[in-house]
Amino acid sequence: MLMKLARLSLWNRRGTVLMTWLSLTISIALLLGIDHLRTEAKNSFTSTVSGTDLIVGARSGQLNLLLYSVFRIGNATANISWDSYQRLTRHPQVSWSIPVSLGDSHRGYRVMGTSTAYFEHYRYANAQPLALAQGEQFNGVFETVLGAEVAAKLGYQLGEQIVLSHGVGAVSFSQHKDKPFTVVGILAPTGTPVDQTVHVSLEAIEAIHLDWQQGAPMPGRQLSVEQVLAQDLTPKSITAAMVGLKSRMATFTVQRQINEFKAEPLTAILPGVALAELWQMLSMVENLLLLISVMVLLAALVGMMTTLLASMKERQREMAILRATGAHPWYLFVLIQLEVLLITVLAMLTAVLLLSGSLFLLQDSLAASYGLFIGLNVIKLTTLYWAAGIILLAMLLAVIPAVSAYRKALADGLTVRL
C-alpha cells in the first residue's frame, strides 16, 4: 500500500515530477559521464603504449611528441632526418626501433609509414603484440595493412585498391590518385589508435611524394608507378621513432644522449613519464569538471526538494486524510522518502540509458578525432559508489520535506486549513 501510495501520488503530480526527473536524469548522466570519460580516457591512453622505452622526435615538448606520435593528436613540428635515425638504431643500447612517418590520410584515417618492425615490436595494453586478422604484412611498396576499424567502417576487403590523400583532413582535395595501394592485411582490433590507422611502408610514403614539392604535385613532373619504383626510395626523414632498449636501466642515459645529440635537435621521452605529466595537467580540469557536475547534481536535488516542499501545501489534505485514517507521522515521513527514492532511482536508470546511448552515438567520432576509445559499459564499481552517494544525498535532502510532512501532521491534526 505504501508503494502504491508513493507511486500513484507521484503519478498524480506527474507534471512537476517529470521535470524533476528530467533535471535529475541530465545531471546524473553528466556526473557519470564525466567520471566514465576520465577513467576510460586514462585507460585508453595508458593501453596504447606498452613496452616502448623511449619515443624520439624532433625537439619539442614531451607532451606534444607523445600526442602526435602515438595518439595521432595534432601534428609534428619537425621531422628527424634519416641519418639521425640510422645513428639511433646503431646505438649499442637500442634493441629495436619502429620508425613512424605521418602526414597523409585516407578518408579521415591517418596513414602511418613504418617498417615491419612495427608488427614485430609494437605492444599495446598488457604487452600484447599486434595480430593480423586477415592477410599478411606489407612487402611491396604499394601495399597497405589496415587497422580493424578502418576496414570495418569503410568495408574494405583484402585485395581492394585504395587511394591516399595528402594532409590529414577528412576531406582532402589533393589525392595521390595515380598511385593506389592494395590492401594486403587487416589487423585484429586493439582498442587503440592502431585500429584507425592505415599502415604503409616508409618507402611508400617516399614514393607517393617523389613528384611532389611543397605539399602539391609538381606540374609536368608526374612519375608513373614504374618510374617511381625504379628510384631510390630510402626516406629522407621520418616523424618519430619508438625505441626499445636492451636494458631498462639504460633508459635515462640513452634519453640524455639523444637530448644532447649534436647533429640535430632531438627529444626523447619516456611514455610513462609523459603520460603522468598529461594526467597531472588534466587532473585539475578533470577535478573541475567533476566539481561542476557534482554542483549541477546538487542543484537538481535541491530543485527536487523545493518541488516537494512546495507540493506539501497542496498535499495537506492528503496527509490529513492519511493521518485521520490511522497513519503515524512516521508513515508520512517514509512516504516522502520513498517518493524521493523512486524519482532518484528512476532518474539514475534513465541517466545510464542516456549516457550509454550518447556514448554509442559519439564513440566513433571520439575515437576518430581524439583517438580515445570509450567503452559503452558505464556500470562499474565507481558507478555503484556514485549511485549510492547520490541516493544517500537525495534521501538526506528529502529529510527536509519529509520532516515538514511529519511536523505538519502533528500540528494540524485532523483539520486542514485551506
Partner: protein, 236 residues
Amino acid sequence: MTVEQPVTDKPKIPAIELKQLRFFYQPDSWQLYLPELRLDTGEHLFVRGASGSGKTTLLNLLSGIARPVSGELYINGQPLHQLSSSKRDTLRAQQIGVVFQQLNLIPYLSVLDNTLLSAHFAGKPKADSLARARELLSRLGLPETLQQSRASALSVGQQQRVAIARALLPKPTLLIADEPTSALDSDNRDAFMRVMLAEADANGCTVIFVSHDQSLLQYFHRQLDMQKLAEGVQPC
C-alpha cells in the same frame, strides 16, 4: 494495563469516558473544559456548536491526535491521556473511524483503495478486508463498477459514503463525523444520515457527530451543546 472502573450501575466499560478534561494551546489563551462525559457502546451523540466553539479541538482530543493538558479520557477503557503519541495513532487506526466535512478521499486512489487504507493502517490482513470492503461499499450504494474508478470521479454524496465505508472497515468502536453533511443537499443529507447510522448500528459502533445543523438532532439519542459549556469554552 489497569483501568480505573467508574462506579456505575452498568458494569460494562463505556465507549467514551472523560473527566475534568482540559485543553489549551497556551495557558493564557482560550481553554476547552469538559467536566464529564460518558457514552456507552452503541450510543449516538450529537455535538452542536458554531465554529470556534472548540468542537474540532474536542474531535482532535477524542481521536487521540491532541493530548489533554489535564483530566482523564478513556476510549473503551484505554487511558488516552496516558498513551504515547504512537500508541494513540495505533488506537485511532484500530478503534476510531473519522469522516470529514468533505474531500475525505485521496483523489488519485481508487474507491476501493481509499476504503482499504483504514484496514491497512489498522494492520488487518488485506484478504479479509477486501471482501468486507466490497460488501460495505455495495451496501452503501456503491456498486462494483464504481469501486474501481478514481475517487475524484465520484459525486460529493458518493464520496461521503465511501468515507463511511472506510471509517467502518476496520470495525472501529467509535465513529467520529465532523459535519459530514455540510456539503450535501437536504435529500442527500437525510439519505446519508440514515445510511451512516444504520451501518454504525449494524457494526455496534458508537457515533459522535458534530454539526451546527439543529435539524439533524432528531437522529440522535443524546446531545452535547458546546455553547452551553460557556464557562469552559471561550471562543478565540
